[in-house]
Symmetry: C2
Subunit: 182 residues, 2 copies
DNA sequence: ATTGGCTGTAAAATATAATAGACACTTTTT
DNA sequence: AAAAAGTGTCTATTATATTTTACAGCCAAT
């Protein structure tokens, strides 16, 4: 990011939630100086700039190279998560736009009688989940269990498993796995 | 390296072999400014500093992080190369202090009748050399050749070879090999 | 030898950064 | 509600950076 000194300083200060006066006090300069720099009304001397950055305990190099804002989206409204259909369930992936995700975090919706299929699923990842509403029959290896709202599961790496909604209402599950398979 | 702005600028200018006036002209500042900065008499504004560095086409970040001087020694006087004895020859290795050398560059001196021994030498490296003075009998595999001043050789990887001074004066050879075995 | 050109530094003048104090607005406290 | 505290910006003043001009020293050319 190639923005000017003033914009950078304002962003940095905002990251720390400090006022210009607080930064100025810590840096041993006046708050007017901070204001003038942030407005790019002056080009600070290197010594002054260092004093200001010392109040954040960062170097001039770090200041010039750091990424001031992440464009990773943190909050998603319900309507924002795009639903897709896989393994008998309607799935919504949280953080689908994130680079280098370490998690696959899903909202799963099973209609009455829906199931993942006769074939067992296996993934090279650990998975955990919880039933939010409805009843889910979960088969893990040779074990079968009907999970109700509040019941949860944790499946190890490469363990065959499958799901089925055995209730009379749709079933909602929230699950997570790492590393992500998608 | 954590030295001050002035010292850094002076070192940078020296690397380019430019005068203060030439740098000033290119940067669009006065030579007095350059002088004052280099003496650390002033702390330049960030804008001024950038103008100066633009004349070298480097960024402030690069300026603050670059290594101003390499401690690799480039020139060695004759007396500086320490002589050691190996394989019948008195050897001097050029650049012995260099880290991560890719070359073994030797000055070799064979006394009259000296030789590398009955055993053939093999190295996992390619080697080339030239006879500076005297006569060297070089055996490479089954081939034998007497090399005089100006004659040279190139030996492939792992080819058995040996040397012998068959003249009546000491023989001088300069050789190089890569990758270096020492 | 003298002259000319190049080099970096110094002092005075000018320009700009930094300061001190005031202002208007917002938020919090009483 | 009013008062107090907090916020960033503005203006005039002070401090410091930058410029202009001059200087001394060194080296090369004549």
């Amino acid at each position: 990011m190639e923005n000017d000194i003033g914009t950078r300083l304002k962003a940095l200060r905002s990251m720390y939630g400090l006022s210009q006066r607080e930064v100025a006090k810590r840096a041993g300069v006046t708050n007017s100086t901070i204001s003038l720099i942030e407005q790019n009304r002056v080009s600070p001397s290197i010594d002054s700039m260092k004093k200001v950055l010392d109040s954040f305990s960062i170097s001039l190099i770090d200041f010039l190279t750091m990424d001031m804002e992440s464009d990773e989206k943190i909050f998603f409204e319900k309507a924002e998560l795009i639903e897709f259909f896989e393994n008998g369930a309607h799935l919504k992936l949280v953080g689908a736009n994130r680079k280098d995700r370490k998690l696959r975090f899903l909202h799963e919706r099973y209609e009455v009688g829906a199931h993942s299929g006769d074939e067992m699923l296996t993934h090279n990842s650990e998975e955990a989940g919880i039933v939010i509403s409805g009843e889910l029959e979960l088969t893990v290896g040779q074990q079968v269990k009907v999970l109700k709202a509040g019941d949860s599961y944790y499946i190890n790496n490469n363990t065959p498993h499958r799901f089925k909604n055995v209730g009379n209402i749709e079933c909602i599950v929230v699950s997570a796995a790492t590393p992500p398979s998608f």
